[in-house]
């Protein structure tokens, strides 16, 4: 292949941008972007979804949470104050006994935990709960 110096530098820059630039954009997704990616910008109602999280969590490394949204096809959980707000997404199959799940998450400090459910008819439901954390669960 016969690359001129200018072409060579150009392709090198593009490759470097693709390698270093894009991953950082993806990981730096803000809370609003994460919500928009899930809801497509649709407004979320507040009925029909429960988020159970402790008001005070002693250890931010394992905070037990539980979400329930009867009839939902997917629930996304977000932590507003974490370096990366994504926590997890539950997708429910035809044999799910209820549209809910309990797990344990990491929280960096006092912040809101947010759950958004996507219903089969394309609407969204959102629940939010503030959690105070005594010992943060990131870095350290």
């Amino acid at each position: 292949m016969d690359l001129s110096r200018r072409q060579f530098v150009g392709t090198g820059l593009v490759a470097a941008a693709a390698f270093f630039g894009l991953p950082s954009i993806v990981s730096a997704a803000t809370l609003e972007e994460a919500i928009a990616a899930f809801t497509g910008g649709a407004e979320a109602g507040s009925d029909g979804i429960t988020l159970i999280a402790p008001e005070i969590a002693e250890n931010g490394n394992t905070v037990p949470i539980e979400v329930d949204a009867p009839g939902a096809e997917a629930i996304m959980v977000l932590a507003a104050g974490n370096p990366n707000p994504d926590v997890c997404t539950f997708n429910f199959g035809p044999l799910a006994g209820r549209q809910g799940c309990a797990t344990r998450i990491r929280l960096a400090g006092e912040q809101d935990v947010i759950a958004i459910a996507r219903m089969p008819d394309g609407t969204f439901k959102q629940a939010r709960q503030n959690v105070r954390v005594t010992i943060g669960g990131c870095g350290g």
Partner: protein
Amino acid sequence: MADNVTPRVRVPRDASAGDSVSVRTLISHPMESGQRRDGDGNLIPRSIINRFTCDFNGQNVIDVTLEPAISTNPYFQFDATVPESGTFQFTWYDDDGSVYEETAEITVT
């Protein structure tokens, strides 16, 4: 690389047809978030389980996408409907490409 990854699941031994049963799963895994630094100040690379699925007789029960904010030793508790006797198939997908599998039988009367 994650060492000593052991999946554990708890499913009732029997149930009535169409019942909703409670399923609990735990897998020992460090879930390195990619945010922590080692003693020399270098970032420890991310190494987590990024997906967990549970199927019953080939039909999906739950499919979870995990992010680094899930705690060490990921734990999930959920309900599954069991129309007939069969096998639960649990699968965890690691960042490094490893797949961990576990099964559990249930008898429906």
